[in-house]
């Protein structure tokens, strides 16, 4: 009798939480090539799924909180304009991407207020298949990323960026973008680092979407 009561209580508590989770609606751009090539001379490369990415569940009301938010970069882009990174347009065209200089570069998105962030999707460049190197993504309340810095992704295995050794996989850029589960961290600023790619020394961004909710 006692057990039955606890089970009923557990169901009562967890059901609303489960019911509030919904698949994120992530609109995808047109693919520019078929499949996910894996013939890159890159260690620690993620195996392609071989099928569409499964839906990502997030609390209902979660939206792209980075949409049309200000983007800053470590250096002035060589090509394109930073606002395009959060303009919602993610097709692989000659005008949709921003090119930053060679070597280690980063962009920072100011969400304008502290948000709970459940996931982010990143499209570096998907006109052709390539791998961006030393990708590190951090979230913080601090514009200088000094305090309360949370690293939600890091595949810099040799600490070449100085942000610590990471153990995440390298990944091939496709039209699906790279979805990163940020596990509900909070923060106002999202910083994305990289250090060139398998085709050239430059760093590119087409779009970054940050899925979260404003802290009420």
């Amino acid at each position: 009798m006692k057990n039955t009561f606890f089970i009923a209580l557990l169901i009562t508590i967890t059901l609303p939480a489960i019911a509030q989770m919904e698949p994120l609606e992530i609109s995808l751009p047109q693919p520019m090539f078929v499949g996910t090539p894996s013939n890159f001379a890159v260690e620690n490369l993620e195996e392609p799924l071989g099928e569409a990415r499964p839906p990502f569940l997030a609390p209902s009301g979660t939206k792209n909180v980075a949409f049309e938010k200000a983007v800053f970069s470590s250096f002035e882009p060589r090509k394109g304009e930073l606002w395009r990174i959060t303009d919602g347009y993610k097709e692989a065209t000659s005008y949709s991407y921003v090119e930053l200089g060679e070597g280690h570069q980063h962009i920072t998105i100011d969400l304008e207020e502290i948000c709970t962030i459940y996931a982010l999707t990143l499209w570096h460049y998907h006109m052709s298949a390539r791998v961006y190197l030393d990708v590190v993504i951090q979230i913080s309340d601090d514009p200088d990323f000094i305090m309360d810095v949370q690293t939600v992704f890091n595949n810099d295995t040799d600490n070449s960026l100085g942000l610590g050794v990471g153990e995440d996989f390298n990944f091939v850029e496709t039209h699906e973008g790279k979805l990163i589960d940020t596990k509900g961290v909070t923060g106002r600023y999202v910083r994305l680092h990289s250090k060139g790619n398998t085709d050239n020394e430059f760093n590119h961004y087409i779009e970054v979407e940050v899925y979260g909710k404003n802290l009420d």
Binding site: F72, Y95, D144, D158, N159, L163, G164, V165
Partner: protein
Amino acid sequence: MSLTSLLKNNTMDQLITTSKRFFLVSILALFISLPGLSKNENLPARTAEMLGTLTNIDRNDTSLPEFESLIQEIFAGKKVQKQAKPLLVQFFKSEKSFAGKRFVLQELEKMGTPSAVQFMAELLTIDTSSELALMALQGIPGAKVNKILRKSIKKADPSILPGMINALGKRQDYRATSIISGYINDKNPLLATTAISALGKIGTPDATALLTRAMQSGNKQNQFIITEALLDRAEQLVKQNQTNRAFEIYNSIRAADVPEMIAIAAIKGKMETSSGNPADILKEELSTSPDHLKPGVIDLVKNLPASWKSGREFLQVPGLQDIDKSRLLVILAERNDKSIFDEVNQFIHHKEPVYRESAIYALTKIAELKDIPLLAELAATRSEKEQEIARGGFYRLPGKDVDAFILQKASGTQDIAEKTEYIKAIGERNIPSAAQVLIQTARNDNRDIRIESYRSLAKVAGKENLKELTELLLAAENSREKQELERTLYLVSTKEGQENAATEEIVAFLNNTPEKEKKSSLISVLGSIKKPGDINVLQHYLNSEDVDIQLSAIRALSEWPNAGPAENFKKMINNTDDLRVKTLALRGFTQVLVNDGSYPNGKKVNELLFGLENAPNVNEKKLVISALGKVSSSESLKALVDHLKNPGDLRPELEAAILNMVPQLMRENKNNTTTELKRVKPYTSNAEILKWLNN
């Protein structure tokens, strides 16, 4: 007694009587021919000897001049020398020596005498030599060979029949037309296609008529070859200026049930050879062609003379579907055919997006000054794809009058979205002298208009606008606009040849602006420009009593291209208790040392070790360790190895830094590097480091 001595003998006259004169002449002839007779008598032996040698040669290019003369001797007359022929026939019937046979036939081809030709004709019936014989015969010009080929065709070896038909075709032997036509429906596909092709090459009206009939009779199996032969023939006729005959061929092909590609080629041919208006042919085709042919027919519009600009007539052809009209609009617009404007305008409002997109594209190709407001409206209000298409046309429309019109509209239009498009167009078109208009619109009440103005100013403004741009930056209401304006100021300042003027203006404002946020903004711009002469200004603000201004100066100097600000940063690291100041100064200190390639390695390592000791937390230590890993020197390796003895939370980063520099150090000084690495062995289990040690 020789003949000469006999003639010289004075007793001769006494011997000769009139009745015996004939006998004497006969004897004389016999004597004269004696040497020849002696050669003929040897001919079989010499021929046998030659063929024996030829049987054993294995190269086609063998030079045998003695045999060349023998072959000439054998085939010099109307008939081949009887004594040699059986030996030659036997040789050609044998399976031996391809090269030897080829040698003889090449000689015969060069000679081309009747006996040579006749002999080669006989070889056409011998399966071991027929192909070689045919090859040699083909090289001999003249009707005689044609006749022989025609006569031989029925008794020729079947394997060379296609070759013979092909040869007759190549030789354009019109007398062979009826013989060849007997093969165009042959069960052997090779024979049939060769015959069709040969008739096409013969090209006489009779041959062409035969092909046309074959095409019309529905010879599906060989239809492609037949029509290809006819098209080739028509092309030949066009080259010979016989366009009427070519038109007839094209017309007959078009009338037959032929594949789409052939039909389109025939229509194109008709357009090119018609004595009338080629556009009428296309109109007729648009009206009568089945749907699957329409795209190809529409594509032929591109072949009309450039001066023809009445494309609207096509759009009015009854029965055309929207997809056809849409294709026509694009192709006609690319020909700058403005007659289609009304139809383009209709399709711009089509319910299907794909037709709207095509129509907007067409509009961009035919647009004039009067159409700019329409393009601006489309760019402002449509879907993203349609907007981009409209903008593309908007930006590329040529003419100074277009620039003037856009400037006027950017100032005067009240509609926010359209005004924004005009402002965007100013930047994209890089309209000179537009800066004042943009500075006005940059003060607009609407944020979107202001931001678009800043972006266009980055492209069109010059040093004469720097003061106003700086004022705009100082008046910016929010961080987003401040960011846009800082970028604009940076881009304008770093335009070629403007760096000096730019920073003087900014420094003047910096000194006279009391508000710290504005000062910070200007410091940030100066830091982006990185003019060497401005380091003193920025260093001055490192000592500001206001921590926010101090932080702005640290950020501005953190990416300095050399170690110039390193000492300032070091002092700050030593002297401050403010975590933010200390952290940013440490980052700047580390970065400028890494940036400076001419800074001595030993000194650099010492400075970085200072940074490592004074880093406020583990995260910042990771940054310094990474920097140490980039300085490939024994000092750096030693320092890292020392730290690995007591690594704390930094083991992976220390090991990674060591591995970063080891390959280069091993190349430069293997002994020292190995000795240094051995020290670390008790403190690490990193497989890569151990691998280096074991190697």
